[in-house]
């Protein structure tokens, strides 16, 4: 540890000043716009106005609903996948983990674009359904909540799986066999042993997935179209179509508040875990 304060500040300040000037200050000004009334005073009238519009309510609830649904689904699939991967032999484990991480390297545009081919009117799903005689006319899957859900799940599932893999790997090796020996069935093992021991990984993965869903733009834009909006796409519309910057500021504040809340939760869990580790060591 070096002692010289002036040196430390000289090294750290350029980055801090840059981030503050380019990012922090403009964002704070943008957020404060939503708390201004036309005469220049402070008020929350913009928020009341925003939430009294049933369309906005629907978008807000849809964003929460899809975020929660994607997070829960990712957790369920994530546990199964992570458990399967952790129990693979070492060489195979690396390769499979690589395949799970691979999509993260690919542009979200490309990943979302693929779903148009799959879910579109003449896409694979509809062709298959009609060929099998399940449906007469093509289903409208694209531009729906279902499409956004599938797109978001595919986008963020890897983050959940990775978090759960590391949680499962840090779990004491003997916990599961011990519980089995004591007569617990698999469901009991999961609820009483695996879940409590991997809670942190679940929370970290859950936070990443949930904030990811909040801040995703391309997926709801391409798979939801202009009718099925989420907060991000609504914000874009308010600016580019309605020129309503106050509404945009309100949406921005809601998004940041939700994202912040999720991150604080993440930090809490992380520090609680560190304390536990330190106490154990």
């Amino acid at each position: 540890m070096f002692q010289n304060r002036a040196e430390a500040l000289a090294l750290a300040l350029p980055a801090a000043i840059f981030a503050a000037a380019v990012f922090l200050v403009p964002v704070v000004i943008l957020l404060s716009d939503g708390f201004r009334n036309p005469t220049g005073g402070w008020s929350v009238s913009a928020y009341i106005e925003f939430f009294s519009n049933p369309l906005n309510q629907a978008v807000f609830l849809r964003t929460l609903k899809l975020g929660a649904l994607v997070t829960v689904t990712a957790a369920v699939i994530g546990y199964a996948a992570a458990f399967a991967i952790v129990n693979l032999e070492p060489g195979m484990k690396g390769k499979v983990t690589g395949l799970v991480v691979l999509p993260l390297m690919i542009s979200p545009v490309a990943r979302t674009y693929a779903w148009i081919v799959i879910l579109g009117r003449t896409g694979i799903v509809n062709e298959a359904f009609q060929a099998l005689g399940l449906t007469q006319a093509p289903l409208r899957i694209l531009f729906s909540e279902t499409a956004i859900f599938i797109g978001l799940l595919q986008l963020f599932l890897p983050l959940m799986i990775i978090s759960l893999i590391s949680a499962l790997e840090n779990m004491p090796k003997d916990a599961v066999p011990a519980a089995r020996v004591l007569g617990a069935n698999w469901l009991q093992v999961f609820w009483k042993v695996i879940l409590p021991l991997t809670k942190e990984g679940l929370v970290i993965g859950g936070t990443l997935v949930f904030t990811g869903c909040l801040t995703a733009y391309i997926t709801p834009a391409i798979l939801g179209g202009s009718k099925v909006l989420m907060l991000e796409t609504l914000l874009y519309q308010q600016v580019s179509v309605s020129n309503n910057f106050v509404a945009a500021s309100v949406i921005a504040f809601i998004l940041i508040a939700m994202s912040f809340a999720a991150n604080i939760l993440l930090k809490r869990v992380a520090t609680a875990r560190n304390k536990q580790r330190r106490a154990a060591a």
């Binding site: 070096f2 090294l11 980055a15 403009p26 999509p103 542009s107």
Partner: protein
């Protein structure tokens, strides 16, 4: 036990098919001979792959995205390396504040960053779109740069710098002679992570597009809205292979995943 033995590969197969399948479909579709994007592809040809290179706007936006990804990441590292060094080697007053400010862009949705920049930097200060995009991408990559470089600094003993000083090196000299060579892997990893993040980033750039100034992903979305031919699939495949290739090489030669 047999049920379980079958169940595990089956689950894995489904999950990986779900994660990778769409990408494979895009790759297959890029080799289609047909006029519209479809799967299974109609015939085999390289015409759409070839077309990618002839679309003028693709060339321009690819250049722009490369500039932002390379330049923005380099700028973020130039700011981020000293900051990481200060955070890991000094008793810095207000270290938590600096850390929070520097890593804040990661938790604020990109679309908001873009809009804020447009309204309060670009418009009032008459900043050009290209410069604004550059600033935005730098801010966006900065948290990754600080995180990855900090991690590799934490893994390096700090007394080797004192050893270098006692052998006659200046403090700055010690940094370049014994710190830099040992965190090179971390810096390269940060560069790659920053490059991929910046190149694939859409929301930040949404509001920061002007006539002829567009990033690659935004240009792809715009193209898709007008023409629904397989050329965007071809382009997506090419870009994906570029990203995967870079990351794969990094993992192979640097052990990339140690740092990220």
């Amino acid at each position: 036990m047999t049920a379980q033995r079958l169940f595990i590969p089956f689950i894995l197969f489904l999950v990986i098919a779900f994660l990778i399948g769409p990408f494979l479909i895009i790759v297959a579709a890029s080799f289609s001979a047909g006029e519209t994007l479809a799967f299974p592809p109609q015939g085999f040809s390289l015409r759409w792959i070839a077309k990618v290179f002839t679309v003028e706007s693709f060339r321009a936006s690819f250049g722009m995205s490369m500039f932002l990804a390379i330049g923005g990441t380099a700028a973020a590292l130039i700011l981020g390396i000293p900051a990481s060094y200060a955070l890991s080697r000094y008793k810095l007053p207000g270290a938590e504040i600096v850390r929070t400010v520097v890593s804040a862009p990661i938790i604020v949705p990109g679309i908001i960053v873009g809009l804020a920049l447009l309204r309060y930097i670009v418009v009032p200060f008459q900043v050009g779109i290209t410069l604004a995009l550059f600033l935005a991408h730098t801010a966006l990559v900065l948290p990754y740069a600080v995180r990855v470089v900090s991690a590799s600094l934490e893994n390096l003993r700090s007394d080797i710098e004192e050893a270098a000083v006692l052998l006659g090196s200046s403090r700055l000299g010690a940094f370049f002679r014994v710190v830099m060579p040992n965190i090179r892997g971390g810096i390269l990893s940060a560069f790659i992570l920053g490059f991929v993040t910046s190149f694939n980033q859409v929301p930040v750039s949404l509001f920061l597009s002007g006539p002829g100034v567009r990033t690659m992903p935004i240009d792809m979305i715009a193209y898709m809205e007008i023409v629904f031919d397989p050329s965007v699939a071809a382009l997506s495949s090419l870009l994906a292979f570029m990203s995967i290739g870079i990351v794969f090489a990094a993992e192979r030669f640097l052990g990339f995943s140690r740092y990220v």
